[in-house]
């Protein structure tokens, strides 16, 4: 692969200018062996994280949660409640950290912004005709600008999977570049929707494409298709951000989203970060969990560790 040689460093920014250059580069990335990748992810899942390491992991995982609601039925009241929970996940324990961000639809952004102002909890909004991305580019960009104007400091965009699967990489690239520009100072998370990309080779190529186009984060899924984040998909993406930093010097974050519901699962992801990309990514600035029900399980395990007993679900707040 040419990506890690120093001579390629300067060339990478030129890749987006031509369809051929992009295709040659993406198809020149080393392949991913499906069996091997799944085996490695499963192996990392067998690490046994106990006592002090577990307590540390739970607090870190809480700080990495993008507390999310993306429903047609979302209302100002619902998202305000969610935002309040993001600030103080465990009202009974002030030592419990706040989550990383709240993630909502653009119309809900102003209501959340009121609650979060000055708290340090980020406000993420999905945009670009989430979740399908099947809208004209002008509509997607207007969607993005509206979310930023309303107060979002993180934008979760979706890539054009139709164009990607048809091999029109430049079209995907250009849309990301345009969305990045429309996002202004807001951080751009690029959702690959890996469940629709189907192969790990595609996941690796889409990851590189998103990073080359300027994405600050790469994110697995919308949570709206049957297959969401999986450990092997996240592993392939972590390898991609690791190799991208080695090639360009720029660090990109990773966000698995959808299907992560338990503390045990969350800890497996932290182990994966630790042993794949290292401590630099063990920080809410560089890794997030897109989740909703995960938070309460983390809180439940946290309480169990501090008190020694499990409390029932009624002792933890509804979102």
């Amino acid at each position: 692969m040419t990506a890690t040689t120093t001579s390629a460093r300067s060339d990478l920014s030129e890749l987006g200018r031509s369809e051929t250059a992009l295709r040659t580069f993406l198809h020149g990335l080393p392949g991913v062996d499906q069996v091997g990748a799944e085996q490695r992810a499963a192996q990392l899942g067998t690490r046994s994280i106990k006592t002090t390491a577990k307590a540390q992991a739970i607090d870190l995982a809480i700080r990495m949660v993008d507390l999310t609601t993306l429903e047609g039925a979302d209302t100002p009241g619902k998202v305000r409640a969610l935002a309040a929970k993001a600030l103080r996940p465990d009202p009974a324990d002030p030592s419990c950290p706040h989550v990383g961000a709240v993630c909502v639809y653009p119309t809900m952004v102003p209501h959340v912004a009121e609650v979060l102002r000055g708290s340090g909890v980020h406000l993420a909004s999905v945009a670009t005709a989430f979740p399908s991305g099947q809208a004209p580019l002008e509509v997607k960009l207007a969607d993005t600008r509206a979310a930023v104007e309303a107060g979002a400091d993180e934008i979760d965009m979706v890539i054009n999977r139709g164009a990607f699967l048809a091999g029109r990489y430049k079209e995907v690239y250009d849309e990301i570049v345009a969305t990045k520009e429309a996002s202004g100072d807001a951080h751009l998370k690029v959702i690959l929707e890996t469940g629709e990309l189907a192969t790990y080779d595609n996941v690796r190529r889409a990851s590189w494409l998103a990073m080359l186009a300027g994405g600050d984060f790469i994110k697995t899924s919308t949570g709206k298709v049957p297959v969401a984040a999986t450990p092997p998909v996240t592993l392939v993406m972590l390898e991609a951000v690791r190799d991208f930093r080695a090639a360009t010097g720029r660090q990109v974050g990773v966000k698995p989203a959808g299907g992560i519901r338990t503390t045990k699962d969350a800890i497996k992801y932290l182990v994966m970060i630790n042993e794949t990309v290292g401590a630099d990514w063990l920080d809410p600035d560089w890794f997030r969990f897109g989740a909703s029900s995960l938070l309460n399980d983390l809180l439940m395990q946290r309480t169990k560790l501090t008190t020694g007993v499990y409390s029932g679900p009624d002792y933890f707040t509804l979102d």
């Binding site: 692969m1 890690t4 080393p30 392949g31 991913v32 062996d33 069996v35 091997g36 990748a37 085996q39 490695r40 067998t46 690490r47 046994s48 994280i49 106990k50 006592t51 002090t52 390491a53 577990k54 540390q56 992991a57 870190l60 390898e239 932290l270 182990v271 630790n274 042993e275 401590a279 063990l282």
Partner: protein
């Protein structure tokens, strides 16, 4: 940093007796003319138990017990009934797998995650697999034994099998030996290695628990002399040995000219070949698994890395980064990747060859890692700049030491891979299916893995070319060594 707190597996699940006798005729008995020796935990040098050393008379008793059981009970028993015992043993192994795994890690030094997730599942799988063959021997592909009637009968067993196994996979090698022998209708006298006898003795208890008829399985513990007496015993019909090529040669000499049938599974110096179009991240996992699995105490270990020169730097950079993540230490900690070297003698050999590698000019590298003070330890090590002329490229080190060589073309890779007296296994890493087949046709190795390494399955035959031995274990082929065909 994310430091993992210790997560030790409890050793209270296993009850180690202070001393063990020999398992002969279904009972534990004291040796008549042997002494005793101690089995230690290589991770702490603590004595685990005192074990009987079988002398010539004890070996004779064991062979007689096996002969009697063969003639009166096991040989005449219908295959379907032998199968019941084997299925029962397999189930008990599964039920007691945690106990067996902890004991194996204590006595051998291998990490609990390997004894728990690799050794024990495979041990049970071997017994289940060969249990299934016990009543279907006529369909194993060796034909039926003709009778005066029109229909034939099952192929016949050989009789008493003498089996000598190594210390690297004590219980798994026991399963590879005992399961096919018993399924085919033979009885056995097995000698475990002197540094790792304990799991075989627990297996003896499992035979009692399964009500296996007395004398079908006999276990005589001891060192080289006990093994020699056993394989040279005139009452033995079959010898099966897994271990070093040097001892294998001596055994071949000893049984030459006798009626004894012999299978040998010996050393290796496998090439793990990485092409420039390989899936690099998975290839690196395969290289690590190939040489650091079980501390490199694996006869089929991928101890020579042949990497295409055009990707050598990139592969080595990834490999070093990955090696820095390996956790060396307490074998009973569930997060340990590399445990203890099995014995002081083996550690001395690994050290000697590594020093020879450095002295001959190869570049040595190990990740920073803190080794425990007591016990036998060796940091995962790679040598770069190795050539075919170096000792570390030719001799089996049997430790966590990888020799890295480069090649330019597929033909050169084949040439270098085959340029060894051994031929047990090989690995190929490439995205190109046609190249895998082209290479596999030309590699002189009993097992060729493609885009994976160190994968074992009871249905798959295993064995070597050249000085890696002869005969196959596992699969339908594994029955041949125990049948009169």
């Amino acid at each position: 940093m994310f430091e993992y707190a210790p997560a030790p597996e409890s050793r209270s699940v296993v009850d180690i007796r202070p001393s063990y006798g020999l398992f002969i005729g279904g009972r534990f008995v004291d040796p008549t003319d042997g002494g005793s020796f101690k089995s230690i935990n290589p991770a702490s040098e603590e004595v685990l138990a005192e074990v009987a050393e079988a002398g010539a008379q004890d070996v004779d008793r064991a062979v007689r017990a096996a002969r009697e059981a063969y003639e009166k009970v096991w040989g005449p028993m219908p295959g379907r009934d032998r199968a019941k015992y084997l299925f029962r043993i397999a189930r008990i192994i599964q039920e007691r797998s945690r106990e067996l795994a902890v004991l194996e890690s204590l006595d051998n030094g291998k990490p609990i995650k390997e004894s728990r997730d690799v050794d024990l599942p495979l041990v049970a799988a071997h017994f289940f697999y060969y249990a299934g063959w016990a009543d279907k021997l006529a369909y194993a592909g060796f034909g039926q034994r003709p009778t005066s009637q029109h229909s034939g009968t099952d192929p016949r067993p050989l009789g008493v099998a003498a089996q000598v196994i190594p210390w690297n996979f004590p219980l798994l090698m026991l399963a590879w030996k005992i399961a096919p022998a018993l399924a085919a209708g033979n009885t056995v006298v097995l000698k475990p290695a002197e540094t790792t006898p304990l799991s075989a003795l627990l297996f003896a208890e499992i035979c009692q628990q399964a009500d296996l008829p007395a004398g079908v399985v006999n276990i005589v513990t001891g060192a080289g002399e006990t093994g020699r007496t056993l394989v040279e015993h005139p009452g033995v019909d079959k010898v099966a040995f897994t271990g070093s090529t040097e001892v294998g040669r001596a055994i071949a000499r000893a049984v030459a000219g006798t009626r004894k049938k012999l299978t040998l599974e010996l050393g290796g110096k496998a090439a793990n070949i990485v092409f420039d179009d390989a899936p690099i991240d998975q290839a690196v996992e395969g290289i690590v698994n190939g040489i650091f699995f079980n501390q490199g105490h694996v006869c089929c270990a991928g101890s020579r890395l042949l990497v295409q020169e055009s990707v050598a730097d990139r592969v080595l950079e990834s490999l070093k980064r990955r090696m820095a993540q390996l956790r060396v230490g307490d074998p009973l900690d569930k997060n340990t990747d590399i445990g203890a070297i099995n014995s002081a003698a083996q550690l001395a050999r690994i050290r000697e060859l590594s020093e020879a590698g450095a002295a001959e000019g190869a570049e040595r590298w190990s990740p920073p890692c803190q080794l425990p003070e007591r016990g036998f330890w060796f940091a995962p090590t790679i040598f770069t700049g190795v050539t075919q002329a170096h000792r570390i490229a030719r001799e089996e080190i049997f430790g966590p030491v990888l020799s890295v060589l480069t090649f330019r073309t597929p033909a050169e890779a084949v040439e270098k891979a085959n340029n060894t007296p051994y031929g047990l296994s090989a690995g190929i890493w490439t995205d190109k299916g046609s190249r895998i087949l082209w290479m596999a046709d030309r590699l002189r190795a009993g097992v060729v893995w493609a885009n994976t390494f160190n994968k074992f399955d009871p249905t798959s035959p295993f064995g070597g070319y050249k000085e890696s031995g002869y005969g196959r274990e596992g699969g339908r082929h594994g029955l041949e060594g125990y049948l009169n065909v």
